[in-house]
Symmetry: C2
Subunit: 329 residues, 2 copies
């Protein structure tokens, strides 16, 4: 295992300390590293909390700040955070207007956020993201997995929360954005969880995993490495087929790197995917390219398409100031 | 070679097309992909042009926009752009106030930018960056290499250009920022140039290259993999020793990923480096952590320290709107 670390046990704490110090103008680290919260929350708004296993950075802590999350709860690498983390986070950021949990659809995450919701004192609602079209059930999920589309949900719901939308409206908006969002990923290499010390899965030198999950879970098929255009064909086809009769119209395209793929290749995939989506009737009106929902150092990427409404586009464009996404401020 | 590409010959063109399409609100691609230029240059200002071999994205095209570069000339991967590219870029963005070339210190780059300067019609000045303390001369450089500190030079000089500073003042400022900046890198893995098809250099499973260049050039020594703290010790020592009596005071710390290292590890390195720099008398007043000056998919990172003045800090804080850096707008 080749990593810039001291010891597997201390990776998360040291990394969070670095994150909090580098972004001290934006965030504060909760006690015992239970959560990362906004330094200056907007008064009176619904509190937005997300979280999940670490190893997907910048998701979620990198999305804490104006116009997105109020807090993020980091679990150990690829391991759900615990209910006491969500409760501590909620206690720190709840302003009396209620708390919305945004949860990726993995059994541990869903269970722990549910438990926290039951134990919470104030009003709590939940949005579960499940944008990955690759497989219907997977290693850690019943139903589809929540992947990079979670970023779009957090951004758009975060913008609406800033404008004073109430808990029920934010939950409905989050569910709408999730329902209009589809993702599909491909891995060229595996990734290594520090505590495990060896790759999560094995891929031959000439193989790739089509439809991979963000923890290296199996996707649709293990195949020989293909050209970027052929990969884009398969990923875009999976997404458009899943949209079915709804395919087409104004859309946001997110090309998300898994951590080990250079920007040059991500933009090449953007080029290939965009052409195919346009052919399928989409108009790409918003774009984001980069490492946002990663799988440690995995090489590969995912495509995420959100069918825009005027409201969703407005929410996307609204000011945001977080460690990983910033515009308009 | 596992890459998301179609063919080595078309990587650059397809990637640039994707980049230009994803950021059509910011940039335009010049004919024959000779350069990437700002869509809406600020009228009357000195034109800032940089460039170099591709494979270091987002450097330089990702820094084209308000408050940084007016144009960037992309060479083939790890290969200098040609003088006709700089001339075409200058013709497109020169507004009569002169052109400043910002050039990383590699023989091909320096030679080709010099040739372009000689052939140029308007006033041209050049700033050569050479912030890498690892080695005094290297594979492609006489004198030190220009590495991630180039970002700081481009940001601070770009801000001054927006405020109307003249060519001589910008050149002097660029030289000052470069003189106050030191970098040092480490590689845990090699990288593969698409046209070559095999790794640029060989590293054993338990080895790293301390002081590596951004093209995988040899550094100071090939050693067994060390813990992050020991790596930070050596990198920070090299930087502070090189500053000599000037070490200490207000500083900017950039922890730059080479492309294959996850954010989690970069923040861990930030944590380790910051503590050591503070012990050496620096006050870290500005921070940036992420993949900015990469070496394709190389795992590893560099530390860059700039000794701040009030002017340099102001230039760093000034609004910027590019594909890779954005704040205040």
């Amino acid at each position: 295992m080749k990593k810039l670390i001291n010891a597997p046990e201390t990776v998360l704490a040291e990394s969070l300390s670095g994150f909090a110090a580098a972004h001290a103008d934006l965030v504060v680290l909760g006690e015992e590293n239970k959560f990362v919260r906004r330094l200056n929350p907007t008064p009176g708004k619904v509190a937005l909390i997300s979280g999940g296993g670490s190893g997907h950075e910048p998701l979620h802590a990198g999305f804490v700040g104006l116009g997105m999350l109020d807090a993020a709860c980091p679990g150990q690498v690829f391991t759900s955070p615990t209910p006491d983390q969500m409760l501590a986070a909620a206690a720190a950021v709840d302003q009396g207007a209620g708390t919305l949990y945004i949860v990726k659809n993995y059994e541990g995450d869903v269970m722990n956020f549910e438990m926290a919701a039951e134990m919470a004192e104030g009003a709590v609602a939940t949005v579960v993201t499940d944008d990955d079209v690759a497989v219907e059930t997977s290693t850690w999920s019943t139903g589809r997995r929540g992947v990079a589309g979670t970023l779009v949900v957090e951004k758009v719901v975060g913008a609406a929360a800033e404008t004073g939308a109430d808990l029920a409206a934010l939950q409905a908006l989050g569910r709408e954005v999730n329902a209009r969002t589809r993702s599909m990923g491909v891995a060229l290499t595996s990734c290594t969880v520090p505590a495990a010390g060896s790759p999560t899965f094995q891929l031959g030198d000439d193989e790739m995993e089509m439809g991979v999950g963000i923890h290296g879970e199996p996707g649709r098929r293990r195949v020989k490495l293909m050209a970027a255009d052929a990969i884009a064909d398969e990923m875009v086809s999976a997404i458009t087929a899943d949209f079915g009769a709804d395919a087409g119209g104004p859309a946001l395209l997110l090309v998300n790197g898994f951590g080990g793929t250079p920007a040059m290749e991500l933009y090449l995939m953007y080029h290939a995917a965009r052409a195919r989506l346009e052919k399928a009737g989409f108009r790409i009106e918003r774009s984001l390219v980069g490492n946002y929902v990663t799988s440690l150092e995995m090489a590969g990427c995912s495509l995420t398409v959100t069918r825009l409404t005027d409201d969703i586009a407005r929410g996307w464009d609204a000011p945001v100031h977080t460690a990983a996404l910033r515009w308009g401020v």
